[in-house]
């Protein structure tokens, strides 16, 4: 989307007469990118679908809070990241009560998931990523899979580029150690 397109879209989002149509365009434009962002954090398709619906619901109800300081994509990514992390925290708390997920493990759950095409090693990689703290996990996914620039991640997560580089470096080190211990 060009800068002019985005400006026009923002203008339409601010007008009650055109905002629903404009928001539909936003959903069409960004839903797939947001879905993959969320899916890499929550891992299951059903959970990613639920979180994505919540992200758009939140963006729609808080449309007045969107000020033009950031791009629409950055604003939506930020909501998606927060919603995904909240979702995982709630899930973790429930898992502590039920202990089912802890016994099964992320890799085993993924191997049993119909919407996971990876092999055993890929599932292990996802398990290693899932064990990282929130910020390291986010930075690793955004850099490793999406090749996103540190400057863009910095805007999204409100963290300095230096801190993000350090987080990515530590994340890579931890994942490598995870596999070297198993080899």
């Amino acid at each position: 989307m060009t800068v002019a397109d985005e400006q026009f879209l923002i203008k339409q989002l601010g007008d009650p007469k055109t905002q629903r149509k404009a928001f539909e365009r936003v959903v069409r434009e960004y839903s797939e990118q947001l879905y993959w962002q969320i899916r890499r954090i929550v891992l299951s398709h059903d959970d990613a679908d639920d979180v994505l619906q919540n992200v758009f619901m939140k963006a729609w109800t808080h449309l007045d809070d969107f000020h033009c300081e950031s791009r629409i994509s950055t604003w939506l990514y930020r909501i998606a990241v927060n919603e995904s992390i909240d979702f995982m925290r709630r899930k973790k708390n429930q898992a502590v009560l039920s202990t089912d997920d802890i016994e099964t493990g992320v890799a085993n759950q993924l191997m049993a998931d119909n919407f996971f095409d990876g092999d055993e090693a890929q599932a292990q990689l996802q398990e290693a990523i899932a064990q990282l703290p929130d910020v390291q996990r986010l930075v690793f996914n955004l850099r490793y899979y999406d090749d996103m620039k540190y400057s863009d991640i910095s805007q999204m997560l409100h963290t300095s580029e230096g801190a993000l580089k350090a987080s990515y470096h530590i994340a890579v080190k931890k994942i490598t150690e995870f596999f070297k211990q198993r080899d």
Binding site: P16, F23, W36, H45, L52, M57, L63, F115, V172
Partner: protein, 113 residues
């Protein structure tokens, strides 16, 4: 890219291992839009709220300003007290003249008592 990143890249690549049900993204926009409620129009109070806050602040400043200016200042009080003291001194001086006493006689009288 450092050695550890190369190790991960060679071992796993960067391919996305996840997939979605067939046609998921084709229906996604319609599904999302169908769930969105109608946006409530902002009430007049919400729209005018910043202006109302500003007006309230101006009123407070004016009331405080008027109160402050109309209240007697501390500088005025010592002058009044001094005037009263001066009046007292004048009265004592007049009384001393009338009794034909000077200060030394008054002090002597007070010392005797």
């Amino acid at each position: 890219m450092d050695n550890e990143e190369k190790y991960l890249n060679q071992k796993f690549g960067k391919e996305n291992p996840f997939r979605v049900p067939d046609g998921y993204f084709d229906q996604l926009t319609d599904r999302v839009m169908a769930q969105l409620p109608e946006r409530r129009k902002k009430s007049r109070f919400v729209t005018l709220r910043p202006w109302l806050y500003a007006a309230a602040c101006v009123v407070c400043v004016v009331v405080l300003g008027v109160t402050f200016l109309s209240y007697p200042t501390k500088m005025e009080q010592p002058e009044n007290v001094a005037a009263i003291v001066n009046n007292d001194n004048t009265y004592i001086d007049e009384a001393a003249d009338y009794a034909m006493l000077d200060n030394a006689e008054i002090y002597a009288c007070l010392a005797d008592n």
